[in-house]
């Protein structure tokens, strides 16, 4: 390649000088899903280095949290990982509940579980669909999205919003499962499986798909732990770690499910882990719904909490397994009605910082495949 072609794009920060071409990918690029940006050095099509640059969606959520009361901050958590807002809501609610030292009634816990698993399915569907789109297979994306609309329908029945759900409240959930859930769920279970099957048929054993994904960006488990990977990314590397099993919260210790894990940590394993996790989520919802039906109809949904929450001084950290991995909230309270400091530990933040390590030496096409398999959501990445 010729000497560095002068950059037409915007570049910031230190740049390596060499006989390489600087290729700026993002922030507006079809594969960057909004606001991600990677500044790559390429030798032909091979990537010498890929420096992610983030902050294009930094909205000051943590600063905002210090200026809002505990209940007011709940809707802001929706806008973190907008693909599965419910997981964020529940994670935040549980962190505040831990700070307050209250336990939620079992019915509310089950409803939270059911909704969270639905959100997990929705999140994985988007991730798998987008991975397909980025590798050139557009059709599975449409199959998964049309299925996802049905999940949205249930969310709408339950708490009235499609995407930014703000489900529940601190101390429980505000509404029971929708009346027609018992009719809707079996039909939806079938449609989830059908969408997954269709995707599976189109992709999994497709030779081109396997060529593009198997062995691409393979990553070993020790490195992954050192980089702070969690969730499907870590499990694809062969480490069976899932907070639902390792540090059970809600009633996850009472349901029976497996942790799908890969071996090589490549794109294919990440894809398979997500596909299999959807199956497991369906299983969890089935069991949780059976447990829910055993509870009396008028079982309480909310723990009594004061209107204005003033948790005692102290600092806690509480994490749950969000679709992307460990989603934690660190809250320090000074005894007033607003959190003194609130810090969100987004799962894809840790994954994305290892991006340079992941893609070094691969080709530009692999960079795209890798990025979409990480499922980096800019909202929670930049906060």
């Amino acid at each position: 390649m010729a000497k560095e072609i002068e950059t037409v794009c915007i570049t910031t920060g230190p740049t390596e000088v060499g006989d390489y071409v600087t290729l700026n990918i993002g922030p507006i690029h079809p594969a960057m899903h909004g606001t991600l940006r990677v500044i790559t050095k390429t030798d032909g099509e091979t990537i010498i280095s890929a420096k992610p640059e983030i902050g294009y969606l930094h909205r000051g959520v943590e600063k905002l949290g210090e200026n809002l009361t505990y209940s007011q901050f709940l809707p802001i958590t929706d806008r973190l990982n907008y693909c599965s807002a419910i997981c964020n809501n529940v994670a935040y609610e549980m962190a505040v509940e831990k700070l307050l030292g209250i336990e939620v009634p079992p019915k509310a816990q089950l409803i939270r579980m059911i909704m969270m698993e639905l959100a997990r399915i929705a999140d994985h569907e988007v991730c798998v669909g987008i991975l397909g789109v980025d590798l050139g297979a557009l059709t599975p994306f449409f199959y998964l999205i049309i299925q996802r609309e049905e999940i949205y329908e249930i969310f709408e029945w339950h708490h009235g919003a499609r995407l930014t759900n703000s489900m529940g409240a601190i101390g429980g959930v505000e509404a029971d499962l929708p009346d027609r859930f018992h009719e809707k769920w079996p039909r939806m279970r079938d449609s989830i499986r059908k969408a997954n099957d269709d995707t599976d048929k189109l992709l999994t054993h497709n030779r081109i798909w396997m060529d593009r994904t198997v062995g691409v960006n393979a990553f070993c488990g020790d490195d992954a732990l050192n980089w702070g990977f969690t969730g499907p990314m870590l499990r694809a590397c062969g480490v069976k770690r899932d907070l639902r099993k390792n540090e059970p919260y809600l009633l996850y210790d009472k349901v029976d499910f497996d942790i799908p894990a890969g071996k090589h940590g490549d794109v294919f394993d990440r894809y398979m882990v997500r596909m299999l996790e959807m199956e497991q989520s369906v299983k969890i919802i089935d069991q949780a719904y059976a447990m829910y039906k055993e509870l009396p109809e008028d079982a309480p949904l909310m723990k009594k909490v004061p209107k204005i929450l003033r948790p005692p001084a102290g600092q806690i950290y509480h994490a749950i397994e969000s679709p992307n991995g460990e989603l934690g909230f660190f809250i320090r309270s000074d005894g007033s009605d607003k959190p003194y400091r609130i810090k969100i530990r987004p799962p894809c933040y840790m994954v994305y910082q290892a991006f340079d390590d992941l893609v070094k030496g691969e080709m530009i096409s692999d960079l795209i495949a890798c990025l979409s398999s990480l499922n980096v959501i800019a909202g929670e990445l930049d906060r």
């Binding site: 950290y317 000074d334 910082q353």
Partner: protein
């Protein structure tokens, strides 16, 4: 042996203070012994996973009027702080996790305002890379030995440190301008 005792055994003299709130154990260690202590926690204590790292600006906490003290039930922390001189303004909290026992530990270090420097722990956990940059971005605490100590979330020309308590929520009216040199 409980977590507290185990941690106390490992840290020995480096341990300045150990507190517990709602089951989360938090130990305080000094700046000088930070990397060494964390290394021992990682190797001997089995806390081999760094979940996150964050900075806190304590200026408001200590400057708070005392009237709220009566309302809180266990205001032990505040009473303690009244006794001694006011502690340094900033602190950095490391959230550790033991993968084998699934225990979590918070380690905090105080950083005074006039000397905003800490040793970097990127040599122990590479996952500290971005969180340290973010802490620099938001609080201005520099980490010595970090491979790339630049702003992470705000743009490079940004002057202030937004998460400090004296920075207003709506900012000071900064705008980002880019000059394209199209010659």
């Amino acid at each position: 042996m409980s977590l507290k005792e185990r941690v106390a055994n490992i840290l020995k003299n480096d341990l300045l203070e150990i507190t517990e709130s709602k089951g989360d154990v938090c130990v305080e260690i000094s700046r000088q012994t930070l990397v060494n202590a964390l290394k021992r926690l990682k190797e001997e204590g089995g806390f081999d996973f760094l979940s996150d790292l964050l900075g806190i600006d304590n200026s408001d906490l200590y400057a708070k009027p005392k009237k709220k003290k009566k309302k809180t039930e266990d205001g032990t922390e505040q009473e303690q702080e009244e006794k001694g001189p006011p502690p340094p303004r900033f602190e950095v909290v490391y959230l550790l996790l033991s993968l084998s026992t699934n225990e979590r530990l918070q380690v905090r270090v105080r950083v005074p305002e006039d000397d905003l420097e800490l040793p970097s722990v990127t040599s122990l956990w590479r996952s500290a890379n971005w969180p340290e940059r973010e802490t620099f971005d938001m609080f201005g605490i520099r980490f010595n030995g970090h491979p790339n100590m630049r702003r992470l979330l705000m743009w490079d020309e940004f002057q202030d440190y937004p998460l400090r308590k004296d920075y207003p929520l709506e900012g000071k009216g900064e705008e980002r301008h880019l000059n394209y040199n199209i010659a």
